[in-house]
Amino acid sequence: MSATTQQGKALPGSLAANPLLAQWLRFKPEGTVEVSPGKVEIGQGILTALTQIVADELDVEPARVKLKVASTAGSPNEGVTSGSLSVQQCGIALRHACAEARAMFLAAAAERLGVEAGTLAVEDGTIVGPENARTSYWELAGFVSLDVPASGKAAPKPAAARRHTGHSAARVDIPDKVFGRPRYIHDLKLPRMLHGRVLRPQARGAALVALNEEAARTVAGFVALARDGNFVGVLAETEAAAERCLALLRSGAEWRGGEEFPDEAKLTDWLKSQPVETKTVDSRETARAGSPAGRMRRQYSRPFIAHGSIAPSCALARWSGSGVHVWTHSQGIYNLRAELAAVLKLPLEEVVVEHAEGAGCYGHNGADDVALDAALLARAADGRPVRVLWTREDELTRAPFGAAMAVEIEAELDGEGEILRWRHELWSNGHAARPGRGSNPVLLAASELAEPFPRVVSTNPPLPAGGAERNAVPIYDLPAWDIVSHRLLVMPVRVSALRSLGAFANVFAIESFIDELAAERGEDPVAFRLRHLGNPRARAVLEAAAGRAGWGSRRGGEGTGYGVALARYKNMGAYCAVVAEVEGEEDIRVRRLVLAVDVGEVINPDGVKNQIEGGAIQATSWTLKEAVRFDRTRITSDNWEDYPILKFSEVPAVEVEILSRPEEPPMGAGEAAQGPVAGAIANAVFDALGVRVRSLPITRDNIIAAMELS
C-alpha cells in the first residue's frame, strides 16, 4: 500500500505509506508545530535532526517544533527504526510534508491578504506580505485542512536556502539527561504501579518441571504470581520485593531439557557443519576473468556478540477492559503491536503501543520481549499498571545476540597476483528475527506459554540490504565473483539483528583479505585498493582518511602498526574509510582511528560525527574484546566481568572527517563504521606484529593461536 503523487511517482520516504499530512504535523493554537514522527529516539539523536528539518522547511524557530511521542494510537506507521534509515524515510517524509503544508498556507494567506503567494515570506511562522500585510500559520490553521493526502507537488527548499540543517544543532534531549530528569522508560511511574520480574531458563526451550512458590508468597509486598506454561513471573508492590521473590523462585525452580549449546571452542566448525539453506546471493562474470595461475583462500570468523545496552530492557503495561496499553522502547511500535495482538489473541485495535525512550539501542534487543512479559504479567494485576525490568543477566543472556559467522574468501590470481575471480562464502544464522515481520511471533515469552508458538529460526532479508550477506558483495571492481550464503536451519543460540548485521564480519573478512593480497604483491594497501576502486565517492573517503591520517608518512614497526579499510554500508548507504593505528605485542591497544565518511546531505554534522565516533568505539570493543561465552548448557558471560567491553582508558582517539555533499540524498551514519573499523584494526595488527588474526576478537589468546598457525 503506497501512495503516489498526481504524476504517478511514489511519494518520498515514509510519506508513501502515510500520505495524510495531518498525520505528520499540526499547528497548535499556542504557536507551536506538533510533529509526529513514526521513527523513535534510540540514542542516535534523530529527534534533533527532525526538528532541524521541520524548522527549515516551515521557516519556524526550532523551539516551536514539538515532537510527539510515537504511538500506535496516531503516529504514522514507519515500520522499524533500524537500518540507518530514519533520515531517509522519516526526515525526507517530513521535509516534503512540511513543504506541502507551507505551500498550502501560503496559498491561503495570499487569498486572505489579497496578494500573490509569490510575494509572501515566512518569518518564524508569521507570513509576511507587501506593505506589512501579516498573518501566520496559527491564524490560518482553522482554514487550512491538513487532512489531505500529500500531492507531491510542493518542492522542498533547495539546499542553499536551508538555515538549520547542515549545522550542528544542540541535541534536544541532552539537558534532561545531564540534570537527571526523568526521561527514560525506566523512570516512568504510573499511579498504583506494580513491579514485575520474570523467571527464565538457561537454555532455549527448557521446561519448568518444579517450582516452589511458597517462599516467594511470604515476601512482604508480594502481590501475585503469574504462570502460563513455562512462563513464570511475579508481581510485587516494590522493586525490592519483586527481586526478592524472583530470587526465591529461582532457587526453587528446576528446568529440564532445552536446546544444547554448541561447543564454544569449535564454533566455526559447528557453523560449517549444520543443516543450511544455501543461496548464491550475487555473481558476476566478465570477459576479463581468465584462467588462474594461483589461488589464495582464507577463513575469517566472528563470535556471537551481545547488545549490552547499559540499561536492562524495561516495559510497562496496563489492561483496561478487554485491551492493553503498553509502553516500550521497541524500535517498531506497529510491528510490536501486531505481535502482541497475535500472542494475546486480541484484535489489533485492543492493543496500543506507545514509545518511551530507552538506553542506547543497537538493534533487535530485549525491548520487544520485555513488552510481552509486561503484558502477560499485567493480566494478573487487576487493572493496575505493571513495570517489568529485566535483570542484567537476562540482558546479557536472553536477549537476541548478533550471529556468529564464518566467512571464507578465495581468489583466483593471475601470474602477477592480480585477482581474476573472487568467491565469498559465509555460514551464519539469519540476522533477522524481528517481531511483526514473519507469520509467527518471535517474542521470547511466546515460545514459553502453555500453548507455545514455535521458536523461530532467523532469516535474511534479500540483498541489497541483506542480512548475513549484507556487504558480502565487494565494493571493488573485480572481473568475476560468486557470493554464497549458507543460512543455518538450527538456532540453539538466539540471534537477530545487531548493528550492521552481517556487514561487520563480511567487511572485516573482505578488507583483511584485500590486505593479504596487497601484502603478497608487496603493494601499498591504499594504492592496491584505489587501483580496484572505480566509485568516485568511495575513492574520495579512502583518500581523505589516508590523507588525514598521514598514511604516506606513517612509521610502523616496533609494535606499532597501521591498517586501512573501507566499505559502503549495504553497498548503497554511507561510505566510510578508516585508518587505524595500533600498538602492543600481546594485548593490542588501538591508539587512534581516523575516519572519513560520506553520508550524502548532512542534517546535523555533529550528530553524524557523534554516531560515527560511537560506532567506531563500539566496533573497536567488538573487535578487541567481545565474545559471548557459553558451555553446553548455559550462556556463561552473564555479567560485565565475563562480558568485558572497552573501557575509557582503552578507547582510542577518534577523528572523523565528513565529506559534505549537500545535494545528495541523506544516508544514515549509525552503522557505517562497524565493518571498516574491524578491518582496519586487524590490518594494523598485521602491520605491527606480522600476524594475521582472522578470528575475532583480537585477544591475546587469539593472537597466540594465530601465531601458532602461521
Partner: protein
C-alpha cells in the same frame, strides 16, 4: 501481605542533596532503590545491580560509589549527593554545562554515573590529566561510545572550575 519481612523495615535518616529526610525501609536494601522509588530521585540509573557498570553512582561523603551495591544503612548519617543535587538548569555544575557544550553522549543512560565519578575526581584533583580522567572513569561503562567527548567535557569543566 505477610508480616515476616515487614518487621525488617526501619526508619532510616538520610541526608540527600543537602536535605534531611527519613525513609521506612529495610536497612539492608540497596540505596539505589530508595533513591529512585521512595524519594523519586530517578536520575541515578539501574544498570547491573552489581557494582560493575557505574550507572547508579552517587557521592557519599564525596566519594563516588555504586548505590546499587550500597546498603541503606551504610549511607545513614552521611552526605549523599545524586545527579539531581549536582546542579540545576539555572545553576548547572560546570560538569553538566561542559557535557552540554561538548554534546557528550549518545543515549545518555550512563551519564549520571559518569558525572558523579567525575565530580568526585575534581574534588580530589582540580587539575587532572587526561589519563587520570580516563582511569577514574574506567569504573563507568558507556556502550554508545561517547567516551572521548565525555573526557573532553571533564577536562573542560576542570579548566572552568580552575578559572573561577
Amino acid at each position: 501481605m505477610s508480616g515476616t519481612s515487614k518487621a525488617m523495615a526501619e526508619r532510616v535518616k538520610l541526608r540527600v542533596n543537602g536535605a534531611e529526610t527519613a525513609v521506612e525501609a529495610d536497612p539492608a536494601s540497596p540505596l539505589l532503590g530508595v533513591l529512585r522509588e521512595t524519594l523519586g530521585l530517578t536520575g541515578s540509573r539501574f544498570g547491573c545491580g552489581a557494582g560493575l557498570c557505574g550507572a547508579c553512582f552517587v557521592l557519599i561523603d564525596g566519594h563516588a560509589v555504586p548505590s546499587c551495591d550500597t546498603p541503606l544503612w551504610a549511607a545513614a548519617g552521611k552526605e549523599v549527593t545524586t545527579v539531581e543535587g549536582l546542579g540545576t538548569p539555572e545553576h548547572p555544575h560546570p560538569l553538566q554545562q561542559a557535557f552540554i557544550d561538548e554534546q557528550a553522549m549518545q543515549c545518555g543512560y550512563c551519564v549520571s554515573g559518569i558525572l558523579m565519578s567525575a565530580a568526585a575526581l575534581l574534588r580530589r584533583n582540580a587539575d587532572p590529566s587526561e589519563a587520570e580522567v580516563r582511569e577514574v572513569l574506567d569504573r563507568n561503562l558507556c556502550r554508545c561510545g561517547a567516551h572521548n567527548r565525555m573526557v573532553r567535557a571533564v577536562l573542560k569543566a576542570a579548566r572552568e572550575m580552575g578559572a573561577a
